[in-house]
């Protein structure tokens, strides 16, 4: 794993603590040891992402759940993708919905990957581990 990838921080926006924990566990099992910053609601996550200091941060990779208590994931996605700097960070939408229209909408707004969380836990764990492997090879642009 090269140094540059190691420097990438993963921002996870997920209101369900359990899900967040299970996702983190399985990402780690895939051998990804990057920093994971977790937010339980959209407001805090946006405050962090759109912070004035964002340019001085390292590169980010965003894991986004669509069902949040304070705002919809679609809104957050739109805000991220309309920000000149943060829009370069890849966004992986990870949610339980497999509604065709919602998936389309996410891609339309600028989601890079859409993953439906399988309800069957083995598949879920497997999917997250594969995501981890994917994260370990993905190229993330520098924030500049």
């Amino acid at each position: 794993m090269n140094e540059r990838i190691k420097a990438v921080s993963i921002v996870m926006i997920e209101d369900d603590e359990g899900h967040a924990r299970l996702i983190e566990k399985n990402i780690r099992r895939a051998g990804v040891h990057n920093e994971i910053i977790t937010f339980g609601n959209g407001a805090d996550a946006l405050a962090y992402l759109l912070d004035a200091d964002k340019t001085r941060r390292g590169p980010l990779l965003i894991l986004l759940d669509l069902n949040l208590p304070d705002m919809t994931g679609i809104d957050i996605l739109a805000r991220i993708k309309s920000d000149e700097v943060v829009k370069r960070s890849p966004v992986i939408v990870l949610t339980t919905t497999d509604d065709r229209r919602e998936i389309q909408k996410c891609y339309d707004i600028g989601a890079n990957v859409y993953i439906t969380k399988p309800v069957d836990y083995d598949s879920f764990a497997n999917a997250i581990r594969q995501l981890g492997l994917f994260l370990s090879v993905i190229q993330v642009p520098e924030i500049a």
Binding site: D16, H19, L22, N67, T96, K117, V119, Y121, F124
Partner: protein, 501 residues
Amino acid sequence: MHQTRKKIWSLTTALAAVGALALIGIIYGASLVSGRTEQLATSVADVGLAELKMNRAFTLVLEAESSQRGYLLANDAGYLDPFRATRPRAERNLAEAEAILQRLGPGADLASLTAVREKIAEKFSELERTVTLAQSGRRDEAMTIMRGNLGRDLMTQVRDLVAQEQTALGALRNLRLVELRDSAATLSQLSALGVAAVLVLALFAVSQLARQARSLALAQQQLASANDALEHRVTERTRDLRRANEELQRYAYIVSHDLRAPLVNIIGFTRELETAAQCVAPVFERLADASEEADVAEARRALREDIPEALKFIQSSTGRMDGLIAAILQLSRLGAVALHPEPLDLTALARECIASVQHRLNDADASAVIDGDLPALVGDRAALSQILGNLLDNAAKYLSDSRPGRIILRGRASGSRVRIEVEDNGRGVAPRDHQRIFELFRRSGKQDKPGDGIGLAHVRTLARRMGGDIEVRSDGVSGSVFVVTLPADLRGVLSAETRNE
């Protein structure tokens, strides 16, 4: 309002009937009066004619007398022929006058005419006697009689009687003339009345027609506005219903979706726990070795039995819950599924559906047939296959052990709807469950077959989504008939939907 209209109507009818009766009366009266007028006119003419005949008879008497004189004085036989012709002619005239007077009936004095006739006959007899005497050579004797007063007196009497009768007949004629005038006046009055009645009736009819036309137009207007209001209300209700339905579906979607999130945690962490236990167990066995201490034995039992048992129950329950949530989610999606109408050959579609459950039918030693041709319709292929497939599957699943399964599919079009029946001779559905079986997670009868009570709920949701419905007929023993009714053309339903949105 209806009552009032009825009353007005019957009143109108009564008035019209009265008018018509009056008119008929007038016409009848006029015809009577007209007959009488004609009769009177005839009788006036008759009186004149009778008078004329009597006068002619009198003239003939005078002629006879002058012929007699001529014969006696000149002794010329040339006078004899005219003389002999007078009496029968006079008598014929008098008879005719008498006949006319007889015909005239009351008012005509026959007795006085008879007196005239008798007197004239007497006069003729006197004249004839003189002529006969002269002919037999006794001319002087005849001349004596002629010169005597008898002939003159008789003539005077005849003249007087005739004059008297003339006066009487004149009076009768005048009387009849007055009557005639009156009758004619009555006739013209009746005619005027008849014309007036016809005019009144015509006016009445016209006014009635106008009123009816007016009230008809008003009623039409009211009906049209009532229709509009009704349509508006129906549209409104339909929209409300649609909204409620959409909300329900959204609700079901949210519930199922949000129930899934914690479920994923339970399933996930149960699995984590299982992994942890599997990781702890060999280490424990190794460290505890074969120690028989009480707490070690208890911990061993917990690791070997209690924890795996608990995990097993948690997992089977979460698995079941997951299935239920998936069913609700699918149902809420079916209710909003996009339909693609296309013309379908239902018979061919049914054949495909039977083929797809053929293995199950074979296993159950059952057969499925299509009774006659199924009607053509415009519908959604996927939804229809799902409905038919599900019903056939159910029929094959719930067969009776006591008889070989026989499933019959039939259908017919009635108006703008199509009716499809799936009949089986299986175990049937108890009457109390006829509604229940279409609800989610509800099942009927002995629970000896695998199933979650989802299929029929889906079928009903799909049928309703297409503007149709499903019901079951069964005595709960000898089989059941599932009846699906659908619009013959799904496009109509969809366009109504679009209009209402």
